[in-house]
Subunit: 245 residues, 2 copies
């Protein structure tokens, strides 16, 4: 991370590689800002973790003070409804930001748990907002991140068949892993079938069945949680109505 004034980040081996794919990269790595502002941004980053699989990162109702970028691993966010049923809101890969929904009420609106071993970059939000007053680029980046999340939530809200939603889910994961330098062809699902189903509003049995069908059709190869995309075109074709591109 380009010799920041603070040593807190420089001593991290893969900092630069991670940071270049992080949602804050343009803010953190920007060349254009005055040195002192950039140093301040780096100062308010705190590396936390590792969180173990199943470990809670924050809980619904916790007072909000920070957003965090996922550094490694996968985070699941969810809420629990009046009847005690879980409702999965999303999965966050390295470089993606959690906690943005908490700004409004100054409380986290959902639970966040680590699905595997998770590392985070924690940013104090009040400090970040103050800094954004002096860094127009940082303010813009925050506006964009928030705006982007509005659209993300709307994506899976649509009315589509089980096949279409699951295909869209896999295409989305494939792209996101690909953008981060991992293979978009082969990846491992960090979450259980039940979590996927819950997120997509399907029974876990339906997830199994659709996965089987896609495998029988030669579109996927599935071994437990390892997925290989064999026919990207047909998978995209299925996902088309959901992802709209």
């Amino acid at each position: 991370m380009r010799t920041p004034a603070s040593g807190a980040i420089a001593d991290d081996g893969d900092a630069l590689r991670f940071c270049s794919t992080c949602a804050f990269s343009s803010a953190c790595l920007s060349q254009g800002y005055d040195k002192s502002a950039l140093a301040e941004l780096h100062c308010l980053v705190e590396h936390i973790g590792p969180f173990r699989p199943g470990e809670r990162i924050f809980a619904e109702g916790d007072p909000f003070n920070a957003i965090a970028a996922v550094r490694a691993g996968t985070v699941k966010t969810s809420v629990v409804d009046a009847d005690g049923r879980e409702q999965v809101h999303g999965f966050f890969l390295p470089g993606e930001v959690i906690g943005l929904g908490a700004i409004h009420a100054e409380r986290y609106p959902c639970n966040a748990v680590a699905l595997d071993t998770v590392m985070l970059c924690r940013f104090s939000f009040p400090m970040m907002a103050t800094l954004a007053q002096r860094m127009p680029g940082l303010q813009g980046q925050l506006f964009r991140l928030l705006s982007q999340d509005i659209g993300k939530a709307a994506l899976m809200a649509g009315d589509h068949s089980a096949d279409e939603r699951l295909a869209a889910f896999l295409v989305s994961l494939s792209r996101r892993w690909g953008e981060r330098g991992f293979s978009p062809r082969r990846f491992t699902l960090a979450m259980a079938r039940a979590d996927i189903g819950n997120y997509l509003r399907l029974a876990s049995e339906t997830v199994s069945r659709v996965l089987r069908r896609l495998q029988d059709d030669g579109i996927l190869a599935v071994h437990g949680r390892d997925v290989e995309i064999l026919d990207e075109d047909r998978l995209r074709a299925l996902a088309r109505t959901v992802l709209r591109d």
Copy 2:
């Protein structure tokens, strides 16, 4: 609007009454700011409309330059998928803000149409962001608005029965009209059954049937688009799992 420097707003008869229920009220009406900043905020507000029922306000893909608060009427936002099917994203009542999802890509991600006669307060977003650099309260208000919209989208994304979703929809409208000084008991739906169904992922026929059932149970009185809530407790009970409160 408290004798602003610009005459553009002062000449509007119900400005104060509207503004006090608008999402920007704390920013527009705030006492604490220095006068010049407040005057500048008022300068970048532009009153537009009226839009006629069915008239388009912005279209998906249009270059983004402004967000807008609904001043009067109801706005529907929607996208059209690859197969040409409409997908309703939301309905916006007076005081609510449209266009927030456009910041990210600098293009509107959806279509917005007037459902009845609509008036808007248009805010140039670039100018607003610049002003927010000097007005921490305005920056915070924008962050909160954006953050709030993330949660809104997640609400209707859940997996619930037709009765629960429709009940939640009605409770939500009731609250929102109530917060704006209208009756939370009786109100008129600005949108067609097909739009409600599309928004809730139900066939319009199902909307009719559920409405009928709620009426037969003495929970509602429905006459075309006029709705009267007869048993708020039971309606809320139905909506409980969706709205989680």
